[in-house]
Amino acid sequence: MDNLVEMRGITKRFPGVIANEDVDFELRHGEIHALLGENGAGKSTLMTVLAGLYRPEAGTILVRGNPVGFNSPRDAIDLGIGMIHQHFTLIESQTVTENILLGLDEPRFLMRLSHYDKQMAKIGEQYGLQVTPDVKIWQLSVGEQQRVEILKMLYRGVEVLIMDEPTSVLAPQEIEELFKTLRSMVEEGKSIVFISHKLNEVMTIADRITVLRQGRVTAAGIDPASTSKAELANLMVGRKVLFELEKTQREPGKVVLELQGVSADNDKRLPAMRGIDLKVRSGEIVGVAGVAGNGQSELGEVITGLRTCTGGRILVNGKEVTNRHARTSIDLGVAHIPEDRTHVGTAPNLSITDNVIMKKYREPPIARGTSLDRGAAQEMAQGLKSEYTILAPSVETPARNLSGGNLQRVILARELSSEPSLLIAMQPTRGLDVGAIEGVQQLLLEQREQGAAILLISEELEEIFTLSDRIVVIYEGEIVADGVEPDAEKVGLLMTGGSRSSSKERAA
């Protein structure tokens, strides 16, 4: 009996939703147990129950064989159970050490930071977590911030570490780092619950897998060696997922987007794009593969007028949009699915209606002279809500109350309904579950059918391979390959600068 944690018959309801129904979960000592499921399957809810944040309506939790009842996360931490949430809980203006000490009983009065700095460094070394204890959080990358969160839990003496979608914010190399850390923690005798909806990662890292679907367990504690990705996907979604999408042969038409030697800086005012040449034709999907932070975000932003170029020209349908206001490209029929849904793509406190009219409010029927026709706006929102199956009580629901998938549907509804001539799709399926991903990809292919030129920027290689007619690879702000085959190894090498400038097969 080496179950460290046992959850039996856990039921947790939210108004109108059953998040967990009679769920059993077991965590053994020294294992990495993956909790797999779609968004909204109840993975995070189940684990927040274990971490003492939610109280279940029914069910018992046993830790080391003893029944326990948690009133707060502190109770759970006292028993060695800690959770790292998807959104970090760090204070940007304080140092690593200060963040870790926050809320603890020690130190009492004097901070004695240097003393604690040494302690933090020691624990970090023990688990292979490289962090400098005396730097401020805002100076750290997301990956480093995650290490601080892990360190925080280790310092509190946590034995069971729950990680909610830890890889969703990380670049591929950082994911490797994280996996190394997790393995070394297990060697030190810790146990880990790894929440994810990514099949590949789960297959790589997990010792055992439990699958949730619609709040119920569909497979408990299975061995990754004895299963396949297809079977897991089936357990997650409950139906066979088509990994092959229907894609027709299609000759690309005229050039819609043309970049001539475009350069731009990033937010830190360092060069992010260095003389990029690129053409996208009507009816063609061009996929940009690259490790995050190599200039692909800036690429999308200069085309849509959200970032100024430091050099070069950008033409849309032969018209100059270089360093023009965002409205110029909108008026030329450029649609944009932004990378950051909540901070760029939507206004959180405004209604769905106000969010879907964002790019159409200047034209009739929504604009009537200088007035806004609310009736027409609501009518349009109603139509889009049912067409794109946006799940919300009404079109007057504020955007902040929508789940990630529904928020993305609001954006898609707005951007695709304008029948764009050019679509800049940035990470269009990031954080979505398998079913939703399929839907989004289908929509992109429909736009291609209708003759839109599509620039697809994604970190999911598989997505780029399935959708793209042409693949380009971006590395350190340059297009290092144009028109490469969809071969993971080859593209992966190019993405990491492995075979730079070897074959610049430029499609003219």
Binding site: F14, P15, R55, E57, V68, G69, F70, N71, R74, D75, D78, L79, D105, T304, G305, L306, H325, A326, R327, I330, D331, H336, P338, H343, V344, G345, T346, A347, P348, N349, L350, D354, I357, M358, K359, Y361, R362, A367, T370, S371, L372, R374, A392, P393, S394, E396, T397, N401
Partner: protein, 374 residues
């Protein structure tokens, strides 16, 4: 660190607990209900305080109500007090809706008064111009000066990203000094710190002007500024909630990055909105000197511009709600003179404010009291 969370060791746990869950939708009737209940609870709390200090809360409330709303005469005075508050409250609501923190309505109010005075005292309109022409010129002067006082922080914010909280606040003091310069020096009347009384044509008509036809109007001080204020509030509401421009303002206010992404020119709107806000506050200053004081002097406002900030928040940045909230505040200001100690209405004002702001949580969340599970 050693607390064991077994329920047996906790000696007592309250059998009920609060369950707080986010609301997906908050219907309009709920907002109204919550606000009314909040005000009622505030009055109950005020009653407790009154009782504790030995007063009779019922009599005190009756007296306050009587002093503010009890007769046509006092209600008219309440409206006079409410008029400048409607202007400043609307001015703040418009700017706040775009998350521009205009703390300078007070200064813009003074500038508006100065602008309207210049029209009269610098001879922009001749002394025997008709009432309509004189007042129209004063409206333009007041609005322009107020708008200019909004333009300065607006352009600084838009071009140089200077924090508008600081600039609008500081401009208040400059405007006080500027008004002082004119009333101490240029237009000083016989050494007093005030200008001469304006000619009759520069007075906004009062209800009492109609006393000959309608005897009931005798002595009623409510002036046409009130109608102007209500009109301005309605127009401001229409701009914010029914016009394309208002949509842009609300979008910028909620998420400037999304607004930029939607192709909205944020810098231009920043300048325009602060000018609109300043212009509305400036009209307030004009209305106050043309309707009540009839001259320019130092003490034209007991802080209407600052009270406007509170009123804008209580009205949830909705100019239409600014009107009733201002009337309530006007009544409490008036009652403050009647009640001894006069701190009581202000105390009640504070409790109402507190309760209304706290009640917001009920609109955002479902809050329920449930039996604690064993």
């Amino acid at each position: 660190m050693t607390a064991t969370p077994s329920s047996a060791r906790r000696s007592f746990r309250f059998p009920l607990e609060l369950q707080i869950e986010p609301r997906m939708d908050s219907p309009r009737w709920l907002a109204l209900l919550v606000s009314v209940v909040a005000v009622l609870l505030a009055l109950v709390m005020g009653a407790v305080v009154l009782a504790l200090v030995g007063g009779n809360p019922f009599r005190a409330y009756a007296h306050i109500a009587g002093a503010a709303f009890g007769s046509l005469g006092v209600f008219s005075d309440t409206l006079v007090k409410a008029t400048p508050l409607i202007f400043t409250g609307t001015a703040c609501a418009v700017a706040f809706k775009m998350k521009l923190w205009n703390i300078g309505a007070e200064g813009q109010f003074f500038m508006g008064a100065l602008g309207a005075s210049i029209v009269i005292l610098a001879g922009v309109v001749s002394e025997d111009a008709s009432r309509l022409v004189t007042l129209a010129a004063m409206v333009v002067g007041g609005a322009l000066f107020g708008a200019a006082w909004g333009f300065i922080p607006g352009i600084l914010k838009a071009r140089l990203r200077v924090n508008e909280i600081i600039t609008t606040l500081m401009l208040n003091y400059i405007s006080f000094a500027l008004v002082n310069y004119f009333i101490f020096g240029v237009w000083s009347e016989g050494g007093f710190q005030m200008t001469r009384t304006f000619q009759r044509a520069a007075w906004l008509p009062r209800l009492s002007d109609l006393a000959e036809q309608f005897p009931i109007m005798r002595g009623l001080t409510t002036h046409a500024g009130f109608i102007l204020a209500v009109g301005v509030a309605i127009i401001a509401w229409y701009i914010l909630f029914r016009s394309l421009w208002g949509y842009e303002i609300r979008l910028v206010g909620d998420n400037p990055r999304a607004a930029k992404y939607a192709g909205i020119k944020i810098t231009r709107n920043t300048v325009l909105i602060l000018m609109l806000s300043g212009g509305i506050a400036g009209l307030g200053g004009m209305s106050e000197i043309a309707g009540v004081i009839h001259r320019l002097q130092g003490s034209i406002s007991p802080g209407y511009g600052f009270t406007g900030i509170i009123i804008a928040w209580l009205a949830k940045l909705n100019p239409l709600l600014v009107i009733p909230v201002s009337i309530l505040f006007g009544g409490l200001i008036l009652a403050g003179r009647e009640i001894q100690p006069s701190g009581i209405p202000r105390l009640i004002q504070g409790i109402i404010l507190f309760m209304l702001i706290a009640s917001e949580v009920f609109l955002r969340y479902h809050v329920r009291l449930v039996r604690r599970p064993a």
